[in-house]
Symmetry: C2
C-alpha cells in the first residue's frame, strides 16, 4: 500500500512506523508486528506503533532510523507492506533448541541485525541462547567473521599494526594512553579505537575526550596514524562491526556478559582495524570479572580465533583485585596519565608499572629486542610524553596541547573519606568504586570521580582513604550515603 511519509524527528532506538488503526487494519498488521517500507529501490523493516492523532489515514510516520536509511523527504510516497517473520528468526529459534548454526545462518543473522530486521526482543532471545547453550569455537569464528563482513574497515598499507585490549572491569587502570604513546614512540603503528564507559566510571574514549577530539572519521584516522604513528579515538562512530553495538545495547538491559559475544565483539573490532599483533589483558581475581582459571581458558579461546584470522596474539593475565592508579573518572584518570608521562614523582606507581609491562609485551610481540629496557627509556626520556602530545594535537588539528591540559582539575565539590580505625584495607572492590563514581556523576560529568590515597594494605585511623569529587553537592551527599549503606571498602 502506498502511504505518504511524515517526519517527526523521532529517534525510537529501532525502525518504527506510526500508523492509524484504520491503516494498520487495511495492511492486516497489528501493534508491534512487522512491515517493510520500500522507497527508490531500498527496503527497510520496521515494527508498528499505532497513533490516532499525529498521523492521518493514508499516512505513515517514520522514525529517524528509517528516514536516515531511506534518505527520504517528508510527504514522499513509500510502499508499505506487512512483512513475514524474517528468516533469521528461525535461526534464533534453532539456537534456542541448542543446535549448531552454520556459517550461512550466522551470516544471515548478523546481516539482519545490522539491517534492523530484528527487534530487541528477538536479539535478546539470541543472546540468551548464546549465554545458556554456548557456541562452539567454529561458531564463534563464523560469528566474528560475519560481524567484520557486515561493517566497515580501516585499511592501512602492509606492515605491523599493533593493538591492545583489556577485557575490563578494573576501575582506573587507564594504561592505554601511556602504552600507545610508548609503542608509537618505539616506531609501532597503533590505530587505537576505544569505547566509552558502559557501566564503569570512564572508558578510554571518555578520558581522552577531556583534552582531545575523539570522534574522528576513518579518513582522518588514516592520515593521523600515517603522520604520528598512532591515534586514541572513539571506535563507536566508525561503523566497525556495527552489529556489536546493537547486541551490546540489548545485553546492557541485564548487564550480561556473554562469552561467545565478548570474544567475537573484541576480535571483530580488531580485525576491522587491520590488527596484525594483538595483546589481550585479562584481569582476574576477586574484584575482577573472572577467576584465574577462567581467565586462562578465555585466553586460549582468544588465541584460537586469532590463529584463524592470522593475527599474532599474546595474552597476559594480570591481577584485578582492586583499582589501578589513583584517579577514577575522566579528568582524574587523565591527570594520572599525564603525571606518569611527565615522570612526576607523585605519579601512581601501580599504573606506571602496568603500562610499562603492557607496552614492553607488545613491543616484544612485534619483534623489538630488549623491549622492557627500551620502553623504560622511552618513558623516562620524555619521548612517550612527546608522542602523546603529537597524537592529541593531531586529533585536535591544532597545537593546543598545553592550553588543554593547563586547566584540568577535578570538580569543585569534594569530600574526604577517612579510615574509621587503624588496620589493613582488605577489600576495595572495583564494582563498588565504579558505582560510587557513577553516583558522583561520571562519565557525563568529566570532572567527577574519586582520588584514591590508599590501596589495599596498611592504613591508620583518620587517614584519608579517598577524596570524592562532584559538580553537584546533592550527588556528593548521595555518594556519601551510598558509602554508609554499602561496604565500598573494608578495614580489618
Amino acid at each position: 500500500m502506498k502511504l505518504k511519509t511524515k517526519n517527526f524527528d523521532w529517534l525510537a532506538g529501532r525502525p518504527v512506523v506510526i500508523l492509524t488503526e484504520e491503516t494498520a487494519k487495511k495492511l492486516n498488521v497489528h501493534l508491534d508486528e512487522r512491515v517493510s517500507i520500500s522507497f527508490e529501490g531500498k527496503k527497510i523493516f520496521a515494527v508498528v506503533d499505532l497513533f490516532q492523532k499525529i498521523v492521518k489515514e493514508g499516512e505513515v510516520g517514520l522514525s529517524n532510523e528509517i528516514n536516515s536509511y531511506l534518505k527520504i523527504k517528508e510527504n514522499s510516497l513509500v510502499e508499505v507492506s506487512s512483512a513475514p517473520l524474517p528468516q533469521s528468526s528461525k535461526i534464533i529459534k534453532k539456537k534456542l533448541y541448542n543446535q549448531i548454526l552454520s556459517q550461512e545462518e550466522i551470516e544471515l543473522l548478523i546481516s539482519d541485525i545490522v539491517n534492523n530486521k530484528l527487534t530487541e526482543a528477538e536479539i535478546a532471545y539470541f543472546i540468551a541462547a548464546e549465554k545458556i547453550c554456548g557456541m562452539s569455537m567454529q561458531e564463534i569464528i563464523y560469528l566474528t567473521k560475519a560481524m567484520v563482513d557486515n561493517g566497515k574497515k580501516l585499511n592501512f598499507e602492509n606492515g605491523i599494526i599493533a593493538d591492545k585490549h583489556c577485557i575490563g572491569g578494573i576501575a582506573g587502570n587507564r594504561t592505554t594512553p601511556i602504552v600507545v604513546s610508548i609503542c608509537a614512540a618505539a616506531g609501532l603503528k597503533m590505530p587505537k579505537t576505544s569505547s566509552r564507559a558502559i557501566t564503569s566510571a570512564a572508558g578510554t574514549a571518555d578520558v581522552i575526550e577531556t583534552i582531545a577530539n575523539v570522534e574522528i572519521s576513518s579518513e582522518e584516522i588514516k592520515k593521523i596514524v600515517n603522520k604520528v604513528g598512532a591515534c586514541l579515538v572513539w571506535g563507536g562512530s566508525l561503523g566497525l562491526a556495527p552489529s556489536d553495538d546493537k547486541i551490546i545495547q540489548v545485553e546492557r538491559l541485564l548487564n550480561l556478559d556473554v562469552e561467545p559475544q565478548l570474544l567475537a565483539s573484541i576480535m571483530s573490532k580488531k580485525i576491522s582495524v587491520g590488527t596484525t599483533h594483538l595483546l589481550i589483558d585479562i584481569p582476574y581475581g576477586d574484584g575482577a570479572k573472572i577467576k584465574k582459571s577462567e581467565a586462562k581458558k578465555l585466553g586460549k579461546k582468544f588465541k584460537l580465533i586469532a590463529k584463524n584470522f592470522g593475527i599474532n596474539l599474546r595474552v597476559v593475565l594480570t591481577e584485578g583485585e582492586q583499582p589501578i592508579g589513583n584517579g577514577i573518572g575522566p579528568v582524574l584518570e587523565m591527570l594520572d596519565v599525564l603525571s606518569i608521562l611527565k615522570n612526576k614523582e607523585y605519579c601512581p606507581q601501580d599504573l606506571r608499572e602496568k603500562a610499562l609491562f603492557l607496552a614492553s609485551e607488545i613491543m616484544d610481540l612485534c619483534g623489538i629486542k630488549d623491549a622492557r629496557g627500551k620502553a623504560e627509556e622511552i618513558l623516562l626520556s620524555g619521548m612517550a610524553f612527546q608522542k602523546f602530545k603529537e597524537i592529541i594535537e593531531a586529533q585536535n588539528g591544532k597545537k593546543d596541547f598545553e592550553a588543554r591540559i593547563k586547566n584540568l582539575k577535578p570538580a569543585q565539590f569534594s569530600k574526604n573519606i577517612y579510615a574509621h580505625k587503624s588496620g589493613k584495607i582488605i577489600e576495595l572492590k572495583n564494582k563498588k568504586i565504579n558505582q560510587l563514581c557513577r553516583i558522583l556523576g561520571t562519565p557525563e560529568s568529566q570532572k567527577a570521580g574519586i582520588y584514591l590515597n590508599k590501596h589495599l594494605g596498611e592504613v591508620k585511623e583518620n587517614e584519608v582513604i579517598f577524596t570524592m569529587y562532584s559538580e553537584s553537592e546533592q550527588k556528593l551527599q548521595e555518594a556519601y550515603n551510598f558509602i554508609k549503606s554499602d561496604n565500598v571498602f573494608k578495614i580489618k
Copy 2:
C-alpha cells in the same frame, strides 16, 4: 523533574514516554532507558523515545498504556525520574544462570511484568531461560499462583464449575460450543472463556463472534452463567492472569511454545475463573503440536499442578493428525457447529463424535452417571441446541438467534481444489491448512476459510478435496499459488 504531559492517542504496545534530547539529558537518561512517571500517588515505569518535533522541552509525551494507567489529562504535571534496573531483572539473570527461583522471586517477576516494569527484550530473556533451562514443577506451581494473584478473578458461589481446554494446533476442531451446550443442558455450570486465533484460522471467540457478542464484563458473565448455566466469551478483556498476555505477545515473535509457560498459562486462567473440574484435551501425532509420548508426560504435569490447587483434572489424549470438522474459518466452523446441534444428516461426523466424547468425559468427571448416553440424548433431543440458543441470546441481550444464524454463509469468491489423481490422501497437515486460511483472510475476514470435502483416505481423480472462500479475489489467487508451491495435501 516535573514535566507537562502531552497525549497523542498513541498505542505503543508498552509504556513509552517521548522526550526531547535536552530533557533526556537533564534527566540523565538515554534512548531506551527507563524512567518512572508518578502522578497522584500512582507510579508507572516506561522506556524513553526521543522526538524533537512533537514535544518541547519540559514536556513529556505519554503512550496510551501510561495514560490509561495513571488516568491523566493532557497538560498535567507529572514527576519523571530516571529509574534503576528493576529488581526483577536480577531474577531473570538468575534464571539465565540456570538457578532455581523462589516463590518470592517469581511473584516479584510476574508483578513487574503486569506493572509494565519490564521491556519486551527482558521478557524475552526470561522466556528463553525458561525454554532452555526449564522449570521445576515447584517453580511452575509458583508461576501459576503468581499469575493468578496478579490478575482478576470470576467469583462464583460454591459448587461445581466445569471447564475444558484443548492445547490446540488442530484446524477446525470447534468442539467447545457443542460441549458447553451439552454439559450446561446436563446441569453443569460452565463459564467458558476462550481466546482469539493467534496463528490458527480461528479461535473459539472468533467463531462465537460470528453470531454473538463475546466481549462481556465479569459482572455480566456472572449474571449470564447464573441464568443459563454457561457462557462462551472472549477471555482477553477480563484481566484474568494478564501477565500471560504480555508473555504470549513476546513468545509470538518467534512462534515459541514454552512448556512451563504453557502449563502456567492454561492453569492460571482456569484457576482465575474458579474451575473445580477440568478436562484437558491434548491432541498428539504427526500433524499436531506434540508426539504421543510427550503428550503423556505433559498430561502428568497438568495433573500435578491441578492437584496442588485442588482441581479435579482429567486428561484425554486425542488423535491430531488432520483437521477435525469440515469448515475451517469463523463462519464455516459456526456452520459445522450448528449442523451438529441441529442434528443435520450432513453434519461432520468426526467433529460430532469428538464433541460427544469430550462432553461425556466432563460429565463423568463431574459425577454424572451414564454420561455418554445422557450426552447423546441431550444432543439428539435438541436440548443442546436449545441451550446454545439461550447462551447466545443471553450474550446478545436479545432474542435474535434465528436472525443471526439465518444469513450465515461463506465469502462470495470461491474456488474448488480437485484431486489430480485417484488414490489415498495420506497427508493433510493442520499447519498448512491454517496457513492457507490465513492467506484467504481469516480470522479478520469471518467468512473466509475452507470447506473440506475429504479427509485422510480414498479419493478419486477430479473429486473436490476442498473449497476455498475469500472476500478478495486477489487473496483467493494467492491461496491458489500457495497450494501450487507448497504441499498442502499429498495423494499416494
